[in-house]
C-alpha cells in the first residue's frame, strides 16, 4: 500500500520538481538576445561522452575557443590561455566561469581524444568542457565565433585562434587573438566585469 502511494505520488513529485526547476531556470525562459551566439543551435559531445546543446551553458559566462586535439603548436597555447584566465581570478570568480573548447575536428576528436587532453592538462571538469560539434555544424559555429580554418590534406588545420568571452546570455563581450600563458589584460578585465554581473 505504501509502495503504491509513492508510485502514485511520483508523477506529482516529478511535476513539482519541474516547476521548481523552471522557476530557478527563469533567465532561460526570457528570449535570447538577437546578438547571442546561442541563436545557433549547437549540439556538442563532450569529453565524458555526454551530448548537450551549448545553450545549456546559458546563465554562466563562458570563455570559448576553437581547437583540435592533434594540434601540436597552437592548441596547447589555447589551453594555456584558459588556465591563465582562471589564474587571474579569485576562487569566487573562478567558480562562476566556464571554459568551453570546441573542436574543429569532430571526426578525430572523440570523447576519448578529448578526455586525453583534459587528463593530460589536468583540466577540472567542473569548469572545462572540451567538446565536438557534428561535422556539419563546424562552419556555423566558426562563423558565429569569427574563426577561419581550412583542413589540410594531412588532416591538420590552418586556423585563426581567438579567445572569446560570452556573457551569461551568450553575447560576445570580449575577444583576443593573443593566446598563450599571457592573456591580454583588457580581456581579463572584461572577465572580471562579466562574472560580477548579476
Amino acid at each position: 500500500m505504501k509502495r503504491l502511494s509513492i508510485r502514485l505520488l511520483r508523477p506529482a513529485l516529478a511535476c513539482l520538481l519541474l516547476v521548481v526547476a523552471s522557476a530557478f531556470a527563469a533567465p532561460a525562459a526570457t528570449p535570447l538576445p538577437k546578438d547571442s551566439v546561442y541563436q545557433l543551435p549547437l549540439p556538442l559531445t563532450d569529453q565524458h561522452g555526454k551530448t548537450w546543446d551549448w545553450r545549456s551553458h546559458r546563465g554562466q559566462p563562458q570563455v570559448v575557443a576553437m581547437f583540435y586535439t592533434s594540434c601540436q603548436y597552437m592548441c596547447p597555447l589555447i589551453v594555456d590561455s584558459g588556465k591563465a584566465v582562471q589564474h587571474a581570478l579569485t576562487p569566487a570568480e573562478r567558480a562562476k566561469l566556464g571554459i568551453m573548447l570546441i573542436s574543429m575536428d569532430p571526426k578525430r576528436d572523440t570523447p576519448t581524444a578529448l578526455m586525453g587532453i583534459a587528463t593530460k592538462r589536468k583540466l577540472d571538469p567542473a569548469h572545462w568542457s572540451l567538446a565536438s560539434p557534428r561535422a556539419d555544424d563546424v562552419r556555423g559555429v566558426a562563423g558565429v565565433l569569427g574563426v577561419r580554418y581550412r583542413q589540410l590534406a594531412d588532416g591538420e588545420f590552418n586556423h585563426t585562434s581567438a579567445l572569446l568571452l560570452l556573457d551569461r546570455d551568450g553575447r560576445i563581450v570580449a575577444r583576443t587573438e593573443q593566446v598563450g600563458s599571457v592573456v591580454d589584460p583588457e580581456f581579463i578585465q572584461a572577465v572580471h566585469r562579466v562574472v560580477a554581473q548579476r
Binding site: 535570447l32 538577437k34 546578438d35 547571442s36 551566439v37 541563436q39 545557433l40 594540434c71 601540436q72 603548436y73 597552437m74 592548441c75 562552419r139 556555423g140 566558426a142 562563423g143 558565429v144 569569427g146 574563426v147 577561419r148 580554418y149 581550412r150 583542413q151 589540410l152 590534406a153 594531412d154 591538420e156 588545420f157 590552418n158 586556423h159 585563426t160 585562434s161 587573438e177
Partner: protein, 256 residues
C-alpha cells in the same frame, strides 16, 4: 503550326520565369589545378556534383523568407546577418516589382544563404567547386589561359556597379550549362572562411604562423588570374554575418 510555335516561343520563357527554383546542372568531376597555392598540393579532385543553373533570385529568396520567418530582415538574429541584410527590399516581405523579383538576391549573409540551401536539401558549393566551374567559358571547361577570357572578366570588374542588376539567367551558359558565374554578382561558398589569404606573399614568416596555427596563409599560384584573385580577396575579408550589395549565392548538392 507556325502560329503554335510562335505561341510556344512566347510562353516558354514566361514559364521559365514563373518556375520556383532554378534548374540544376550536372557538373562532371575531374582533377583541377587551383589558382591558389595550397601548401598541401595544388591539384584537387573534384567529385561530380550539381549546381543551380543561375544565382538565387529575390523572388526565390522571398518564398524562403515567407516559409521561414526567422529569416525576415525584421526578425533575423543579428549574429546571423548584419544591418544591411535584405535592405534592398521595400519591406521585409515584399519586393519592389517584377524586375527586382528576377534579379539575383544580394545583401544576404553566409548564414542566410546556407539556410536557404539547406531548406532545398542542398548546400553551398565549396570554393574548389566554384573555382572549377568558374574556369569555363562558353565552349571550354578550362579557358583560364586565354587572355581574351581574362580581359572579359576584368571588363566586368571595371564596370561601375551603381546601376540596377540585370535579371539572373540572361547570360549565355558556359561549357557546363551554368550561367552568370562571372559578370553578374559575386557568390558565397560554403567554405569561404577557409580562404586564409595573406595579401602579400612576403608576410609568411613567424607572425603568420602565430595567426594561422603552424602553417602559412594561402598565396596565389597564378597571379594573372584576376578573376579568382579578386573573389578570394573579397571572400577572405568577410565574416559569415556580413552582407554586400554585390554578393549573392547559388546552391549545390552531391551526386550519388
Amino acid at each position: 503550326m507556325r502560329r503554335f510555335t510562335a505561341l510556344l516561343l512566347f510562353v516558354l520563357p514566361v514559364a521559365g520565369l514563373c518556375a520556383g527554383d532554378a534548374a540544376w546542372v550536372k557538373v562532371p568531376g575531374g582533377s583541377f589545378r587551383s589558382a591558389l597555392k595550397y601548401e598541401d598540393g595544388g591539384i584537387a579532385k573534384i567529385a561530380k556534383f550539381e549546381m543551380q543553373k543561375r544565382p538565387v533570385t529575390n523572388a526565390e529568396f522571398l518564398t524562403f523568407v515567407q516559409a521561414h520567418p526567422q529569416w525576415r530582415r525584421d526578425r533575423v538574429a543579428t549574429v546571423f546577418a548584419d544591418e544591411r541584410y535584405l535592405s534592398q527590399w521595400p519591406s521585409s516581405t515584399r519586393l519592389a516589382d517584377e524586375a527586382q523579383a528576377a534579379q539575383p538576391v544580394v545583401d544576404v549573409s553566409w548564414f542566410a544563404a546556407q539556410g536557404y540551401c539547406q531548406a532545398q536539401g542542398a548546400r553551398l558549393p565549396t570554393w574548389r567547386e566554384w573555382e572549377y566551374v568558374a574556369a569555363a567559358d562558353e565552349t571550354r571547361r578550362d579557358a583560364r589561359k586565354d587572355p581574351a577570357w581574362r580581359e572579359r572578366i576584368l571588363g566586368w570588374y571595371a564596370r561601375p556597379s551603381s546601376g540596377p542588376l540585370p535579371r539572373a539567367g540572361l547570360q549565355a551558359p558556359d561549357a557546363y550549362g551554368v550561367q552568370d558565374v562571372h559578370g553578374l554578382v559575386w557568390e558565397w561558398t560554403d567554405d569561404f572562411s577557409s580562404l586564409l589569404v595573406s595579401g602579400d606573399n612576403r608576410v609568411q614568416g613567424d607572425a603568420d604562423k602565430m595567426k594561422f596555427c603552424g602553417a602559412g596563409a594561402l598565396s596565389m599560384d597564378d597571379r594573372e588570374n584576376y578573376a579568382v584573385l579578386m573573389r578570394v580577396a573579397m571572400l577572405s575579408s568577410l565574416e559569415a554575418r556580413d552582407t554586400t550589395n554585390s554578393l549573392g549565392f547559388r546552391c549545390a548538392r552531391d551526386l550519388p
